[in-house]
């Protein structure tokens, strides 16, 4: 409802808040506070129309500050990474995204397709995405889409779907890695109706842009996965929670949903005669924390998007306190191919004993950035050098991030890892949503870390103390703005803050943010020393 006023007026006025408050019986003070939580809700004209320039960690490398400066006359403001790291730099004008490396070359163009991998390695979610016309219902169907779902609906029972997904080893691809089959089983068994399927498309992690590619070019794959989840769990309603920064994707999704409704795949008889599944798209308003599933649920319900205390978990107490599946876009897009090709097929796509694949969003100082679907267990150097062409001419890789920014940095001596959770966790990092940003040897890693920490500080919801205060204190210290000027004391403060954040924060944001400083100290002690001592020997 707030979005309707935001779109009509260009900003959310006090009158609009008053009207929505009355209609939805939400106290005015609460609704006002919630509106101020979101980055993209403007409260004054001209508001929405003012250009917003991505100043994420990748766009910073390629000139976002210059564009911001050039567009200042139009009132341009920065926005956190908006998921176009393979085709920088996005600028949001209302509901239009323009991209270009300078303000003079900004143009509207579709988001890039994932580049094919060199060895012809079998893909799951990208298996059909490059087929012409794939984004339309007919094109999707013609290229094998909805086949897995249709046969499951026709010849099986819901439990069969749960079993196949469980056996495939598919796990949450948004970062948490919870086994998808077990989640569905839990929701199927949980008491309470109606149940809900939520697709988490609030891709806010800097350096992650896989969901945008999947939704832009293969929206029906996600819808198919959601219908399968609804069938498996008995859910009658579903939401796609899409981040604000993807307005074109919103249109694509709404069209795809209409097509699926026209084909009776969604609607009153989606799961069989008289068994409905209705699907709606809900738009975020600019808050990284809403990618955290319980914040997302609060946001979806119109509440203040603080994370909820767990347990209880969403599988029993999710949307409107009823059983709810929350799955990532990539997870859901994997379901159709798994139903069509079988659990063994998917399991076999991984290397060694790792099941399946993971999309890596690769960006930064690398020859061929883009989304690559890799077999889990693939050595990182294979991806960086053989698939993506390595760093620029004459340069070496100084660091890569993992999990976007949340996994911190792997230093030059830590790149010999395989891309899978056990391998990366052993190195004090994690794969997460699969964003990998490359920094070559020309980059100032303390400054990169400062930008990263300032992102986390900007996005901290402000509820739990270690994250609210800790992200700010770490940012200040990385900026050389406060904190001890003596290295040992500086390091001790950074380490103590990091420890308390990792161990006591209420959600993943606060637990992950200190991996930035931890890995900075681990790999780039010399740069840190120069930063703290400031040339003082």
């Amino acid at each position: 409802m707030l979005h309707a006023f935001h779109e009509r007026d260009g900003f959310v006025s006090e009158e609009a808040i008053g009207v929505v408050s009355q209609a939805l019986c939400i106290p005015v003070a609460d609704l006002y506070g919630t509106v101020t939580f979101y980055h993209h809700f403007a409260q004054h004209p001209p508001g929405r129309a003012v250009p917003r320039v991505c100043d994420g960690p990748v766009c910073r490398l390629f000139g976002s500050e210059a564009i911001l400066g050039a567009l200042r006359r139009e009132g341009a403001t920065p926005m956190p990474c908006s998921g176009r790291c393979d085709d920088c730099i996005p600028v949001l004008y209302g509901d239009r995204t323009l991209v270009g490396r300078s303000s003079a070359t900004l143009e509207a163009r579709p988001s890039p397709l994932p580049p094919p991998n060199p060895g012809g390695v079998t893909e799951c979610v990208f298996g059909g995405i490059r087929e012409p016309g794939r984004a339309s219902f007919d094109g999707y169907r013609r290229t094998g889409g909805y086949a897995g779902l249709t046969s499951a609906l026709r010849y099986g029972v819901p439990q069969d779907v749960v079993t196949v997904i469980t056996d495939s080893g598919l796990a949450g691809r948004g970062g948490a890695g919870f086994p998808t089959g077990r989640k569905w089983q839990a929701v199927a068994e949980a008491p309470g109706e109606p149940k809900t399927i939520v697709c988490n498309a609030d891709e806010g992690e800097p350096g992650c842009f896989k969901d945008r590619a999947l939704l832009d070019h293969d929206p029906h794959a996600v819808i198919e996965g959601m219908i399968a989840a609804a069938y498996a769990t008995g859910a009658a309603r579903g939401f796609i929670y899409l981040r604000y920064e993807y307005p074109e994707t919103m249109e694509i999704l709404e069209r795809a949903i209409r097509e699926a409704e026209d084909a009776d795949l969604l609607g009153e008889n989606a799961r069989g005669p008289g068994q409905p599944f209705h699907l709606l798209v809900r738009r975020g308003a600019g808050a990284y924390i809403c990618g955290e599933e319980t914040s997302l649920l609060n946001s979806l319900e119109g509440k203040h998007p603080f994370p909820r205390n767990r347990p209880p978990y969403p599988v029993t107490h999710g949307y409107e306190d009823l059983p709810t599946v929350v799955n990532n876009v990539e997870t859901l897009a994997s379901v159709g191919p798994i139903l069509a090709n079988g659990a063994e097929w998917y399991r076999g796509l991984g290397l060694l004993d790792h099941a399946g694949t993971k999309v890596i969003s690769l960006s930064g100082d690398i020859a061929r950035p883009g989304n690559y679907e890799v077999p889990l267990g693939l050595p990182l150097p294979t991806l960086l050098d053989d698939w993506a062409g390595g760093p620029g001419e004459g340069r070496t890789i100084q660091a890569v991030t993992m999990a976007g920014l949340s996994g911190g940095f792997l230093g030059p001596n830590e790149l010999d890892v395989t891309l899978d959770e056990p391998g990366l966790r052993a190195r004090g990092s994690f794969l997460g949503a699969g964003g990998v940003i490359v920094f070559d040897d020309t980059r100032d890693m303390v400054e990169v870390a400062r930008q990263a920490m300032s992102f986390f500080a900007h996005e901290s919801c402000g509820k739990c103390f270690p994250c609210r205060i800790g992200t700010t204190r770490l940012t200040e210290r990385l900026a050389g703005d406060g904190g001890p000027s003596e290295l040992a004391a500086w390091t001790e403060e950074i380490t103590d803050i990091g420890d308390v954040m990792k161990s006591t924060s209420a959600c993943g944001l606060g637990m992950a943010a200190p991996l930035i400083t931890e890995s900075l100290l681990r790999n780039f002690g010399d740069q840190v020393a120069r930063h703290v001592d400031g040339g003082r020997e």
Partner: protein, 357 residues
């Protein structure tokens, strides 16, 4: 073997009831687990993270206030590790505020942060940096001081306003370090749904929301003495602690254990106590002369005058024109006498009491 409803708490097996949190159990066993965002009257929030305890099998310490006990849990409440985290957290909290030491007149819970910072020896001056919270000096209401420079965003005020008072007058705006406690459209309390009940003041653990009226007496020398009594206003019977310095009333605080109010008061019970020691307080009856001026009189003269007035109305309009409203501030005996006057004196049932409000 653990029984169905026992957990191991710091080495001892203890029983618990279904639905109890680890914090509640620890509290019952006097473990003195520190908290800042906790108020037993409110739903647990899980923000300050001071109450973290070690739970066997969990990767990280868990917030005891939000963790329900399940049979067989093994919990340690005061290990070196969690005590170290608590100290770091308190150092961080101390670094975001202008000051830690506030006058106890600020509010019932106003000494909580100070007490914990002292207990954990957290006045180390580490983690200096930007301070959070922006005081609202522009809000000139006479009752509630909004000194948000001292705010730690524990949300107790917001929650007590919503959960206990049902006013929803205040909320939280912004996010991260810029989180602020606010009202609708950031206006003054007077323009909000606030009823000035003062509950936010008395749950605030830092004095960020403070009893502005009581703080006028902060500089009065002497110790604060608290006297438990019942609010003299209406019929609810809220328990209050009258605070005095040198036999002068300097403020009122709600009794958190008052059976009728559990820490709640209304604006009258909380702030309207000036009459007790007011210089214009009536000490003798006054009777208006023919010139319209009130003059001191004896009780006999004053009662004669009142009786004459009643008789005049009765003669002119009949007894049905008489209606009695007893003062809520009068004691039971006076209220009884008042209804007796109506019922026995005129045979009327025209009697009410202002406490009905």
């Amino acid at each position: 073997m653990a029984d169905r409803y026992t957990i191991n708490l710091d080495g001892s097996d203890v029983a618990f009831a279904d639905g109890e949190t680890l914090y509640e159990i620890a509290e019952r066993h006097r473990k003195e687990v520190p908290t800042l965002c906790y108020d037993p009257r409110l739903e647990a929030f899980g923000a300050c993270r001071l109450c973290v305890v070690e739970l066997e099998g969990a990767r990280n310490p868990v917030a005891s206030c939000t963790t329900l006990a399940t049979p067989g849990m093994t919990v340690r409440t005061g290990t070196d590790k969690v005590e170290r985290y608590r100290k770091t957290l308190l150092e961080l909290v101390a670094s975001e505020n202008r000051e830690i030491d506030v006058d106890p007149l600020a509010g019932h819970a106003s000494q909580e942060l100070k007490a914990l910072v002292d207990r954990y020896e957290a006045r180390t001056g580490r983690f200096q940096g930007r301070q959070s919270g922006a005081s609202r000096e522009d809000d000139a209401n006479p009752f509630i001081l909004r000194d948000y420079d001292l705010c730690i965003s524990c949300n107790r005020c917001v929650r007590v306003c919503a959960e206990r008072e049902g006013d929803y007058a205040i909320s939280v705006k912004g996010r991260g370090f810029d989180t602020q406690i606010t009202t609708e459209f950031s206006g003054p309390l007077e323009d909000s749904d606030c009823t000035f009940c003062g509950q936010c003041v008395h749950t605030c653990p830092t004095g960020a929301l403070a009893d502005r009226k009581a703080l006028r007496h902060a500089d009065v020398p002497g110790e604060i003495e608290k006297t438990r009594t019942i609010c003299p206003y209406c019929g609810v019977g809220c328990s209050v602690d009258i605070m005095t310095k040198d036999d002068r009333i300097v403020g009122v605080q709600p009794a958190m254990d008052g059976p009728a109010n559990l820490g709640a008061l209304c604006v009258k019970g909380q702030f309207a106590y000036d009459f007790v020691q007011h210089e214009e307080r009536l000490k003798t009856p006054l009777v208006r002369g023919d010139d319209g001026v009130l003059r001191p009189a004896s009780w006999d003269d004053a009662l004669d005058r009142a009786a004459e007035g009643f008789r005049r109305v009765e003669r002119k309009h009949g007894p049905a024109a008489i209606f009695g409203v007893a003062s809520g501030r009068a004691p039971h005996e006076a209220a009884y006498a008042m209804q007796k006057l109506m019922r026995a004196g005129w045979g009327l049932n025209h009697i009410d009491n202002c406490s009905r409000a």
